[in-house]
């Protein structure tokens, strides 16, 4: 009887670990930028200018953080079922790009180039463009 209880406990423990691993590790969903409690708001032109002026300083402020960017749309691209919204900035060869969460596709479809938009996403830094991913429309 004792052996059976030990076996049952062991099986229960292993099953628990397996369930935890698959639910919390493999099933860990990406964070929703709109649910971030530490969102920083910035104008798209200011964001790009800060990165152009001093990448290291800008990274300290924004890299990996959720930022809410406001500005005018200069272009919208659609590739591989994913929209990327470009902001109008003063950059000669770069701008601010927001790769949108695919869940936002129906809403992004109705955006118009030239109109104002507020988007929240995770800042990846600058590589010619300041790049945000997993973006969602914030307003």
């Amino acid at each position: 009887m004792k052996k059976i209880i030990i076996w049952l406990l062991a099986i229960g423990l292993i099953s628990g670990i397996a369930v935890y691993f698959f639910v919390f590790y493999y099933g860990a969903k990406h964070e929703d930028p709109l649910k971030s409690t530490q969102m920083v708001s910035v104008d798209a032109k200011d964001l790009f200018n800060q990165y152009e002026l001093n990448e290291d300083s800008a990274n300290k402020l924004y890299l990996g953080k959720v930022i809410k960017v406001s500005g005018d749309i200069s272009d919208i691209q659609f590739e591989n079922n994913r929209y990327t919204v470009n902001y109008a900035t003063d950059g000669v060869m770069g701008t601010v790009l927001c790769e949108m969460d695919t869940l936002e596709n129906p809403k992004v479809k109705s955006l118009i180039v030239g109109s104002k938009v507020v988007i929240a996403g995770f800042c990846n830094g600058i590589n010619m463009d300041v790049y945000l991913d997993r973006c969602k429309l914030a307003e």
């Binding site: 493999y26 969903k29 152009e52 890299l63 990996g64 830094g125 600058i126 590589n127 463009d129």
Partner: protein, 181 residues
């Protein structure tokens, strides 16, 4: 800013040499670490790259935080524990396609080429060589290559507890969709 200066210099250089420059901001780099315990896949779709068709000069750079993993925890582990993306936000390659002359960029075709250069990850630079396929089709140029990268060569320390889940050598697929500048 440095990148803009670099691109501008490359542009001027290419005009001076009457060369053709091919450029992309939407190149893809993806990797796949396969072990019996776990498959880890990630993709970065915003790689900036320049290829000079006259000299074969080839460069690309990417943001480490731009890698998209299948789930959040894998991504967090990658950025915080392995790539240390806050400290080393970029990776880059600078090299040359050594036999670029055999590629006819004016007509459709598929060409196998060789390249050599320096790959920098986490501020560690290593010489790399490899083969790539360049496809010219309808004025567009696509270059693909599979690089073998050993994380430990780039100071990517994998703890023993995670060692069994991460391959010693990772295949990095590079896919660049160039357009003429």
């Amino acid at each position: 800013m440095k990148k803009i200066v670099l691109i501008a210099a490359l542009l001027m250089g290419s005009f001076a040499a009457n060369a053709q420059l091919y450029f992309t901001k939407t190149g893809t780099i993806k990797f796949d670490s396969h072990t019996t315990l776990e498959d880890i896949k990630a993709e970065n779709r915003k790689v900036v790259s320049v290829l000079n068709s006259a000299t074969g000069a080839l460069e690309f750079s990417l943001l480490m935080k731009g890698f998209d993993f299948t789930n959040q925890l894998m991504e967090d582990h990658f950025n915080e524990s392995y790539a240390e993306s806050d400290k080393y936000p970029k990776a880059s390659f600078k090299g040359t396609v050594t036999d670029i002359a055999k590629v006819d960029f004016t007509k459709d075709g598929t060409y196998k080429v060789n390249y050599t250069g320096k790959l920098t990850i986490k501020n560690v630079t290593k010489d790399v060589t490899g083969t790539a396929t360049i496809v010219v089709k309808g004025g567009k140029v696509t270059a693909t290559s599979a690089l073998k990268v050993k994380p430990k060569d780039y100071n990517i320390v994998i703890p023993a507890t995670a060692g069994a889940k991460i391959a010693e050598e990772i295949t990095v697929d590079v896919i660049m969709d160039y357009t003429k500048k």
